[in-house]
Amino acid sequence: MILVIVEQREGKLNRVSWETLTAGQAIAAETGWPLEAAVVGGSVAAIAAEVAGKKVAKVSAVESAKLEPYTPDSFAAALKQFIESKQPKLVLMPHTYQVRDFVPKLATAMGRTVISDAIGYKKEGEKMVFTRQMFQGKFVADVSFAGDAPWFVTFQNGAFRGDKVEAGAAAAPVETVAVEIADGVVRNKPQEVFKEAKQAVDLTQAEVIVAVGRGIKEQKNIEIAKQLAEALGGELAASRPICDSGWLPMDRQIGSSGQTVAPKLYLALGISGAIQHIVGMKGARTIVAVNKDSEAPIFEIADYAVVGNLFEVVPPLIEEIKKAKAGA
């Protein structure tokens, strides 16, 4: 059996769960293994019902008052009980910050392992092989499980198409599973989730984004990227290290810890293309990458590649854009 654990936060289904369900449906079709889903939380019947509309054999609502708010202790304890009773072969989850927080603990408590941040799978005879990026996306590895099931896999955001998830012919049955979590199991006391100072820029609405990475070298060089963004009428953004250095404010950060964008044009200057950045911008319609390293992973997803020194390329580019605009 394949078990997909969908993610809910504050009573809302995290849409990335549909991607994992799509993956589960594809693997189920190929292996003939039945597919079930589960959602974990304090009171998750509504989310379970939403998932039950998709093509799954069954949805379990794994509930306990101790599962609200989320803690790694409670989620690992609940899922350990549930998975031990279900005995699935494969347990699939999205590779979110929440899953990263509890799934290695859960697998370890069960003496199992997690293939994390996978981007695909292959069935080679009886063997399931999962692909995942390594060395910051420079290579891909085929990884297999060497131990016993259940096998845990987390899928990278965007690895499967959430909009391709198949609806069921009829609503799948929903079962509420009450789990016992003993006093003292939960040690962390989480406070309310909050957003730091209001985000000044909403990059998700920008049609054109010029983003800078480490290749910009110094804070003062941000200026030429800014000029390019202005010439294009776009927004300026950055990869995480630039915001960590304080060269641009955090609200201009693109990637897993920043904003996820899908503009018409994403122009990446001196960005190598670490996975954490790529997941935030690979939905862009057109990606132009300027990087001096011809092997930079960003070129894997670029539509137009400029291998060269950005400090030599950008000034004439700004001039040409201005000329084109003046002529238009």
Binding site: P72, D73, A76, Y97, R100, D101, P104, K105, A107, T113, S116, V129, M134, Q136, K138, F139, V140, A141, D142, F145, A146, G147, R187, N188, P190, K195, E196, E207, L232, R240, P241, D251, S256, S257, Q259, T260, K264, L265, S272, R285, T286, V288, D293, E295, P297, F299, E300, I301, D303, Y304, A305, V306, G308, V313, P316, L317, I321, K323, A324, A328
Partner: protein
């Protein structure tokens, strides 16, 4: 309160432990660090396609550098001890020497090339075995490594030790009992979490500003203790890897990428033509 330590008591473990507990601000922190290929190092596959060719330049895994910096800052604030640990061949000791030069007090090196091939579960088991006689208040790791990118070793280590953990940490405040940490969530959200000690925290890049080693620090590092742990010493604690890398390869391109070539001026012209006619943003 002033505590006078008589000379005769100084070596008494029971007394020292009592003293340690009384000095509430004393923190003993282990920082797990990893040596990874340099960010812009060109990597090549080995002949079997099972791993990279190892003749590349290495550096400390970036989030681990932030984990070390945070440990040093906590020690400076509360007094205490910072111990750094790594696993890998002889070359990996470089990250420990750098850490000692920056202010870590001592180092533990699980030295064997075979450690490189361990999965996250086994690496955590080897670390747990190597520190079984130590008493740490906190263990820090970077949130993930730039080579494998598992993002698991710290959390697994917490589970093996039976300690609570929190991941992707951006701030740590010591409290009367335990600590308050700031977790980074996705899409610009954060959350404070109160937790007891001892605990494992995985540290996010950017939590602080990194320091450089000073000349005097580099000099002092030479006299700081580095304990070597062999594979044989931890062998019984680990087992077969539970996941196996079947092969490593260059990713197949899913997108057709058009190379823009020529002098900078020519490239600019060509690119603008694309932006106007194909991308239609001009």
């Amino acid at each position: 309160m002033l505590i006078h330590v008589g000379e005769a008591w100084a070596d008494d473990p029971v007394f020292n432990e009592t003293l340690r507990r009384r000095q509430e601000s004393f923190v003993k922190i282990l920082v797990c660090m990893k040596q990874v290929p340099q960010k812009d190092a060109p990597l090549k596959l080995n002949e079997g396609g099972t791993w990279i060719r190892e003749d590349v330049s290495y550096e400390v895994n970036e989030p681990d550098a932030y984990a070390l910096e945070e440990a040093l800052r906590q020690k400076e604030k509360h007094s205490g001890e910072v111990v750094v640990i790594t696993s890998g061949p002889a070359r990996a000791s470089q990250v420990l020497r750098e850490a000692l030069a920056k202010g870590a007090d001592r180092a533990i090196h699980l030295e064997d090339n075979a450690f490189v091939g361990l999965d996250a579960y086994n690496t955590a088991r080897a670390f747990a075995a190597a520190i079984k006689d130590e008493k740490f208040d906190l263990i820090f790791t970077g949130l993930q490594s730039d080579d494998y990118g598992y993002a698991q070793t710290g959390v697994i280590l917490a589970e093996l030790l039976g300690w609570p953990h929190a991941t992707i940490i951006m701030q740590i405040e010591k409290q009367d009992a335990g600590i308050r940490v700031k977790r980074e969530l996705e899409a610009g959200f954060f959350q404070f979490v109160d937790m007891p000690l001892p605990a494992v925290l995985t540290i996010q890049s950017g939590i602080n500003k990194l320091r450089y080693a000073t000349l005097i620090g580099i000099k002092q590092a030479k006299n700081k203790p580095m304990r070597k742990v062999t594979m044989a010493e931890v062998q019984t604690a680990i087992g077969e890897n539970l996941q196996k890398i079947e092969k490593l390869y260059i990713p197949q391109k899913t997108k057709k990428t058009e190379m823009i070539q020529g002098s900078p001026g020519e490239m600019a012209k060509k690119l603008v033509e694309k932006l106007r006619n194909e991308v239609r943003v001009l």
